[in-house]
């Protein structure tokens, strides 16, 4: 099945290339001249480095966590406009935290402009579910030195999709519709405490869930300028079931007679972007918010030992909620050179994981601080963060980060 889907993707890619070449030959000479110009390759990217100081000694003692960490990340980006309509974009993510280096393809896809409004993306693309993953994940764009709760790598929100996406942009509305491979559910085979978590993270080296899911986002821009955008997102998934799960799963019989089970998952998100110049305050206020709600129905988890004795047997309603609000203010209209490049930010986040599950947690996060932009892609940030969790209590961190786009 995976091989078949791979073949389908390659056939579509080659079809586009052949179609594009044919169009270029038959149409105007400008298109001919613009074809396959290597000068239209852009090597870009972003990187960050920083220091996180964890102030709570108790946290260090109980979890073995170091009192300071030095997160470093580099994400080279390659963009290539092959023809007036065909375009390739890819990003490679390299991260180092607590001495561990990891790397992966952030996104790699082929884009084709179908008409005056629409674009088709094929491959691994950033998830249009909400606004964070697609627009604000690079740290040189994020005003704060932290990622909102639940939106980090291997978090509780989709960061990228593997499939096909159709996007339409216009003056007052934007649409994104996509069909992609569904994520998997952690079966708890490695760590029982994680049983029931959705694994959104796509590792191209591992076996995918073969079930297709669908999603869409509509963005509404009610005013003449795009300073306010309200977005509504929906995602439908067929989640592959781990071996210890029973309950509301759907049984699917393959043509070969083999049976598999999967859960139906629904995700909803509301996002809001407000960006406004306040002449009286001589600055610009920026508000970004997103709330995700995930519902996979009732999960029954039964784990038995090889001898058939039931070790764990419990059930819970697998519903979770995450959200953030990011506020920032920059006095861009003042005359002072240093002040106009400075800014303040306040970020709040919440994470509510399923009540009754072994991975249940309620967490709140508040981060406040200052930033300074050396240029439009170069920013230094310092923040004080307080995280409150039901199990661990309060933790306090000081974060310093320098982020650059290039």
């Amino acid at each position: 099945m995976i091989r078949r889907s791979n073949y389908c993707i390659w056939i579509i890619i080659f079809s586009f290339l052949i179609f594009e070449k044919g169009e270029a030959i038959n149409n105007d000479t400008i298109a001919k001249k613009e074809n396959f110009k290597f000068s239209r390759i852009v090597f870009s990217g972003n990187g960050y480095c920083g220091v996180d100081v964890h102030l709570n000694k108790s946290l260090k003692d109980s979890t073995g966590m170091e009192s300071t960490s030095l997160p470093i990340g580099l994400a080279p980006i390659i963009l290539w406009k092959l023809t007036p309509r065909l375009f390739i974009e890819s990003e490679f993510d390299f991260m180092m935290d607590h001495g561990m280096l990891s790397g992966e393809i952030g996104y790699a896809n082929l884009c084709y402009s179908t008409n005056k409004l629409g674009t088709i993306q094929i491959g691994k693309f950033l998830s249009p579910f909400g606004i964070y993953s697609e627009r604000y994940h690079p740290f040189w764009i994020n005003n704060a030195p932290n990622t909102p709760l639940g939106f980090a790598h291997e978090g509780y929100s989709p960061e990228s999709e593997l499939g096909v996406c159709y996007k339409v942009g216009s003056k007052h509305f934007t649409y994104a519709m996509y069909a992609s491979l569904s994520p998997k559910i952690d079966g708890g085979s490695e760590n029982v405490k994680n049983a029931g978590k959705i694994i959104f993270h796509i590792d191209l080296r591992e076996k995918f869930n073969e079930k297709i899911g669908f999603g869409a986002r509509v963005g509404i821009l009610p005013f003449k300028n795009p300073s306010v955008e309200l977005g509504l997102s929906y995602k439908w998934m067929q989640l592959e079931v781990g071996e210890h799960y029973h309950g509301t799963a759907v049984t699917h019989t393959h043509p070969s007679g083999e049976q598999s089970k999967y859960y139906i998952g629904n995700m909803y998100a509301v996002d809001l972007t407000i960006e406004k110049i306040l002449a009286r305050l001589k600055g610009k206020i920026d508000i970004k918010a997103q709330v995700n709600y995930t519902d996979i129905g009732t999960n029954n988890f039964i784990k038995t030992s090889p001898s058939g004795i039931t070790e764990i047997d419990y059930s819970y309603s697998n519903k979770s909620e995450i959200g953030f609000v990011m506020l920032s203010f920059k006095p861009i209209l003042v005359d002072n050179y240093i002040l106009k490049r400075s800014g303040i930010f306040l970020h709040g986040g919440t994470l509510q994981l399923p009540i009754g599950s072994l991975w249940y947690e309620t967490t709140y996060e508040l981060t406040a601080g200052l930033n300074y932009s050396f240029n439009w892609q170069n920013i230094l940030k310092i923040g004080y963060q307080q995280i409150s969790t039901a199990k661990k209590g309060y933790t306090n961190n000081i974060m310093l980060q320098w982020a650059v786009g290039f």
Partner: protein
């Protein structure tokens, strides 16, 4: 069981998507449209997510590529991205 996703929230969201699409499709071509300049669109669209870029960052040809990348990322319409590109190319001194 297979149709479990057809719950009330799903139906409501589908109606929202459909309404948005219908409203967008029904707009008349005769409505008064005041064209914005490329510079204005550059400030409004780019500044919505990040600091507005310096036009001298890229050459004309590179802006072609970067503009297409941003069109996909921020879902900017073709008409607007053409005006933004024209402004950036005229202001970069290339």
């Amino acid at each position: 069981m297979g149709c479990r996703f057809l719950n009330r929230k799903f139906v409501m969201l589908t109606i929202c998507f459909a309404l948005a699409f219908i409203i967008h499709s029904c707009k008349t071509k005769n409505e008064l449209i005041i064209e914005k300049s490329g510079a204005q669109l550059w400030g409004e669209n780019c500044g919505r997510c990040h600091n507005t870029p310096d036009p001298t960052t890229y050459t004309d040809e590179k802006w072609e590529t970067v503009a297409m990348h941003m069109k996909v990322r921020a879902n900017i319409s073709s008409k607007e991205i053409v005006l933004i590109k024209e402004f950036l190319k005229s202001a970069n001194g290339d």
